[in-house]
């Protein structure tokens, strides 16, 4: 069962989605998966080095060399291993897009790309460290599965689920500690939207750290008598087109919310589905085609409009266009 939090349950402490990675690797290795994990000099931040504690022969760091890491991952996968390769989302795919394109996607290698520190919520390091375009790059590769967890529980479920198949995955994790949405656990199904709230006036589709504020936005809308459906669209590719089509038919207005450029991410994928199957008014909450900057991550989310208030306003705009 994939039930979202209920207020009656005690709230677990906030956790970053990236914190799920190291423990998940250890769990997979202990369960007997033939995994190998690679890092590129950021292993303390990705958590990949946790595997080295119990399984030292299963973890390698290649130094600050992402292109090398990706082709090494492909070579390892060609010998039958399930390979996890981790870095920051700005460097992977940023430093190694062509290696991912040719060696992972075209060869359809069993490599799971763990891209930590996605989005502007990296915070103080500023624009060069803030990936706002990685989902656009990764979803444009044929055969690549692209997923974004909304909390550490979902991140764990995704990382473990990825080991069950031999396809390439891009799993985007984040730096900040977030409230847990799936307090009762998460059975993650690739390519399936998870409906967290039902409603008939508008559908709010979110991924990653925008899921929790989107739930809050639905609560605000409910107080105003507006019924908002909330979908956690954790899989950007393959997109759950049926859920989008159904939402368009049943609610007639759509809002997408994501920590990514409004070009090329979740909103673009949803818009494509709407345009082809069931045109409906749609609004986006996302980064409006500009780079990030330094600042505390919460201040950055405010500055770039990645808030519950923005989702509420977008919902009203979408409904007004019906």
């Amino acid at each position: 069962m994939t039930t979202a939090r209920a207020a009656a349950f005690p709230q677990p402490p906030p956790a970053a989605t990236r914190e799920a990675y190291g423990p998940a690797l250890v769990k997979l290795a202990e369960a007997g998966h033939d995994i190998v994990a690679l890092d590129a000099d950021l292993s303390a931040s990705t958590g990949g080095n946790k595997l080295a504690g119990s399984f030292p022969d299963r973890w390698f760091t290649v130094g600050a060399a992402e292109a090398n890491m990706i082709s090494i991952a492909a070579g390892l996968a060609s010998t039958g291993k399930t390979v996890y390769a981790a870095s920051f989302a700005v460097f992977m795919p940023g430093h190694c897009f062509d290696q991912i394109r040719v060696h992972i996607a075209q060869q359809r290698m069993n490599v799971k790309l763990i891209a930590s520190h996605g989005g502007i919520s990296v915070g103080e390091d500023g624009a060069s460290a803030q990936a706002i375009e990685d989902l656009a790059l990764m979803t444009s590769l044929p055969g690549m599965n692209v997923v974004v967890p909304c909390d550490s529980v979902e991140a764990d479920a995704m990382i473990c689920r990825a080991a069950e198949d031999v396809e390439p995955w891009y799993i985007r994790l984040g730096r900040p500690k977030l409230p847990v949405v799936y307090t009762e656990g998460r059975h993650f199904e690739l390519g399936a939207a998870d409906q967290l709230r039902d409603g008939n006036d508008v559908t709010l589709i979110a991924c990653g750290l925008m899921v929790e504020p989107t739930i809050r936005a639905a609560d605000v809308l409910a107080q105003e008598g507006i019924g908002a459906r909330v979908l956690n669209m954790a899989t950007i590719k393959p997109l759950d087109e049926q859920a989008v089509i159904q939402a368009a038919h049943e609610t007639g207005a759509i809002v997408c919310a994501e920590e990514h450029n409004v070009i090329g991410g979740l909103g673009s994928a949803v818009a494509r589905t709407l345009a082809r199957h069931c045109p409906a008014p749609m609004e986006q909450v996302g980064i409006e085609d500009r780079f990030g900057q330094s600042g505390p991550w919460t201040a950055l989310l405010q500055e770039y409009g990645l808030t519950a208030e923005s989702v509420v306003a977008a919902a009203k705009r979408a409904i007004a266009r019906k």
């Binding site: 292109a67 070579g75 390892l76 394109r101 040719v102 060696h103």
Partner: protein
């Protein structure tokens, strides 16, 4: 049984194989009216030595044999020499050769993994082969292969060494102590835009490789017996990754290509040029 190398050809048979490979190269690029004959002709003896000189342990009847040696073309545009060699080795029928680069063919313009069987890695974007080899070597190590099983031979172009990823891979191969890897440098001194020394100097390339902790051999890349011996020596070394630097001529075996190597990087010969090329290859001119 898929346990060891195909029987090694004798010296005369190796020369004969080289002729057949060269013939396929010019015929293939003539049929396609595109492709890369120059850098394929320069690597002909390298591939003949690998597949017919008793160097690489492989089995055309079982291309996925787990403990096979891997031959990886990093300079992934030099497909004519790969397809010619694999067809001659029995991986697929030589009848397929004229389909090179046509729509729907197994014989893609640049190498595509397992297409046809025997192609170990997709390439064409330069500089990725040595990194891939590092991954394969780590995998073979984890799988507990015996010291002499699962060797990896990577054919690298000299223009390709402009790509920085090669040096990341060279650094990591020695860092991880991956003795199974042998790089084979097709040192033909020409790249797409012209003479390598003018475009981006890589010398002293052997010293650079040695400084990164590799064993280095230099050999005449058109003396097929010498190439074979150097590769067998490299294969037997279990202390460090090895590189065999093969001094070659781009377009070797076809006079008008060898005399104008920059002009024959990426195009196919005309009907008349094909006839001349086949005559010269048959006569063994160079």
């Amino acid at each position: 049984m898929t346990t060891s190398a195909a029987p090694a050809a004798d010296a005369e048979a190796l020369l004969d194989v080289c002729k057949r490979i060269r013939r396929h190269i010019v015929e293939m690029t003539h049929a396609a009216q595109s492709g890369h004959p120059g850098g394929s002709l320069s690597a002909t003896e390298i591939f003949a030595a690998l597949y017919f000189g008793g160097v690489a342990r492989h089995d055309p009847a079982d291309p996925q044999w787990e403990r096979r040696d891997r031959v990886i073309l990093s300079k992934g545009h030099a497909t004519p020499v790969v397809y010619a060699t694999l067809a001659e080795a029995g991986y697929f029928s030589t009848d397929l050769i004229p389909t090179f680069r046509s729509l729907g063919t197994e014989l893609q313009g640049h190498v595509v993994r397992n297409k046809p069987p025997g192609v170990e890695m997709s390439g064409g974007a330069l500089g990725m082969g040595l990194s891939f080899a590092v991954g394969v070597a780590l995998g073979h190590q984890l799988s507990g292969f015996a010291e002499d099983e699962g060797q990896i031979f990577v054919v690298v172009g000299d223009g390709e060494l402009n790509e920085g990823q090669n040096w990341e891979a060279i650094m990591s191969a020695s860092h991880f102590g991956l003795h199974r890897i042998t790089a084979i440098l097709d040192r033909n001194h020409f790249q797409n835009d012209g003479a390598g020394d003018e475009i981006m100097r890589i010398d002293p390339v052997g010293d650079k490789w040695a400084a990164f902790g590799w064993g280095v051999q230099h050999v005449d890349g058109h003396d097929v017996a010498a190439v074979r011996d150097a590769l067998l020596t490299a294969r037997a070394r279990a202390d460090a990754p090895q590189v065999v630097i093969c001094k070659t001529v781009k377009g070797r075996g076809v006079s008008f290509m060898a005399e104008n190597p920059a002009g024959w990087h990426g195009k196919g010969p005309s009907d008349d040029q094909l006839a001349q090329a086949l005559d010269e290859i048959e006569a063994g001119l160079s």
